[in-house]
């Protein structure tokens, strides 16, 4: 109840465009927004940009949010959309290679390790699938909320989540990491 009251108050302050509302917004939801964005983008810098983009969208459009208690889900939906937009925009740019997963191996600094990281495995999924995983499995949004965020039907999202789990399971299985990662494609 308290959190709902807090959300309602925050929504009111955002609607009134009180600058200090942004502090509360980021303090409350900034971490989740950044983590969802990171799961989609696999770039801390880009994830931070998404946090800013999301806060700006909230500033502009929180009036369209009818149920203040849905603020978190709405913000994360917005973050997912911003993340996917950023993925699309970045396709013409050569990104730095992701540095994960890495580890030392017998002191050889250049050696990559084969230790497993789930976040790294998620990074190998197609972008929209990453967004679905981030929203559903990390942020606990419902399938319906994920579908709204991604502009897809509920059944499509369920299918994508199922396929994502299959890929992650393959990647998390010993000796299956390579197959799981090399098989990931970009739609």
């Amino acid at each position: 109840m308290r959190s709902e009251l807090d959300a309602a108050r925050l929504v009111d302050e955002l609607r009134a465009q009180r600058p200090e509302a942004l502090d509360a917004l980021l303090a409350t939801f900034g971490a989740d927004i950044e983590r969802v964005a990171y799961l989609v983008l696999h770039s801390r810098m880009d994830a931070e940009e998404v946090v800013i983009d999301t806060a700006m969208t909230a500033w502009d459009r929180v009036g369209s949010l009818r149920d203040p208690s849905a603020l978190r889900a709405w913000l994360l939906q917005v973050a997912a959309r911003h993340s996917l937009q950023r993925v699309r925009r970045s396709r013409s740019v050569d990104p730095l290679p992701p540095a994960a997963p890495l580890a030392a191996d017998g002191g050889d600094p250049a050696a990559l390790i084969d230790r497993f990281s789930l976040v790294a495995a998620v990074a190998e999924l197609p972008p929209r699938m990453r967004a679905a995983v981030a929203l559903h499995y990390f942020a606990d949004l419902t399938v319906d909320d994920v579908a709204t965020a991604l502009g897809r039907s509920r059944n499509t999202v369920k299918t994508e989540l199922r396929l994502a789990l299959e890929r992650l399971r393959t990647a998390m299985t010993p000796d299956g990491a390579d197959a799981g990662r090399s098989g990931a494609g970009e739609p």
């Binding site: 465009q17 600058p19 200090e20 942004l22 502090d23 917004l25 980021l26 303090a27 900034g30 971490a31 950044e34 983590r35 990171y38 799961l39 696999h42 770039s43 801390r44 810098m45 880009d46 994830a47 931070e48 946090v51 800013i52 806060a55 700006m56 500033w59 730095l96 290679p97 992701p98 540095a99 994960a100 997963p101 890495l102 580890a103 030392a104 002191g107 050889d108 600094p109 250049a110 050696a111 990559l112 390790i113 230790r115 497993f116 990281s117 789930l118 976040v119 790294a120 998620v122 995983v133 499995y137 990390f138 606990d140 199922r162 789990l165 299959e166 992650l168 399971r169």
Partner: protein, 369 residues
Amino acid sequence: MTSDPDFEARVRRQLRSELSGLTPSVDADAVRARLADRPSLRSAGIRWRSSLPAAERHPATRLLAALVIAGVLVAGTLSAGVLIGLFRSNAPTAPAGQAGPSALASTLPTLQPTPLATPVVPSSCAVTRPDPPFAAPSPYPSQPPGRVWYGTQALWTMLMPNGEVWSGYPIGPGGITQKTFWFSTNWPGTAVEPVPAITVTGTRLDGSGSFTFGPGTNASAEFGEAMLVGIEVPTPGCWQITGHYAGTQLSYVVWIPPAANLQRECQQVDRPGAIDCQVALGLAIAALPLGDHPDLAVFAYGTYCGTTSGCDLSAPANRVDFGLVTFSYADDTHHEYVYVVADRDGRLHLGGTLSASPPPLMSVPTPVP
């Protein structure tokens, strides 16, 4: 494939664990800085385009417009964009009279600045606060929207009423990028002097550093034309900015707070000789006493890979920082920033962790059965 609640739960748990160390790093000031400018920028671009006669919307003009607007929107962090957005660059082929003073003065922008917090200015930096502001001659408005005039008829500019603070600006090759706008009754205008012979110099007041940029180009808003000089300020700090035009100088002091995002803009590719982030990060991790338990997992959010010291390429060596690296050992997870040192030639040297003391995990020297 059937549902597997156990596996789903594992995915949820592990995602949260691995991401737990990715702490929020964006503060509201960054958002406010962008919000402060954006409405003016966007609407100014729209107004400009819609004001152009159809016959004048030839490709070159459209390209120029696109460049201006794209630059404005892409560089959304330009907090001085409140000003920038009110202006447009004038193509030499702009129709005569389009930027005529009387026509421009009749449609003053109505946008109001958002009342936003600004970074704290140290008392040692006496930023210029125009008091009283300069009253610009006709056809300019008595004061520009959201700003105040500063100077004399021979040379004036626009400043923030409570002191010029430049924060959240994009970082260019030469430093923090900014556009400065200047006005003078001695300037005959775009039609006669489209490339004004104006220069802008900067001198750091709380340290060493200087710059000179010029000549200018031209810009116009709905209320008049301006001489525009793009500058790059090498470092944050307290700076005196001086415009020089037609034998007149005008100076003001600006505070540029150390930007949290300054470092991240300085990528490793700025170092002489490419630094291989993968190798560098591996080197940094190898320097840590991690132990080698079979359950040890290392995951690097290695996206920063940026040099410190503001990419001071003249320094003998820079630290190359990395983003968060997560070390997990069974159910125990720790997060660290790691670094290496790159010398002037791009050679990498062993670094370590930025923590004062290694977390317990890293103190485990030998495998645990």
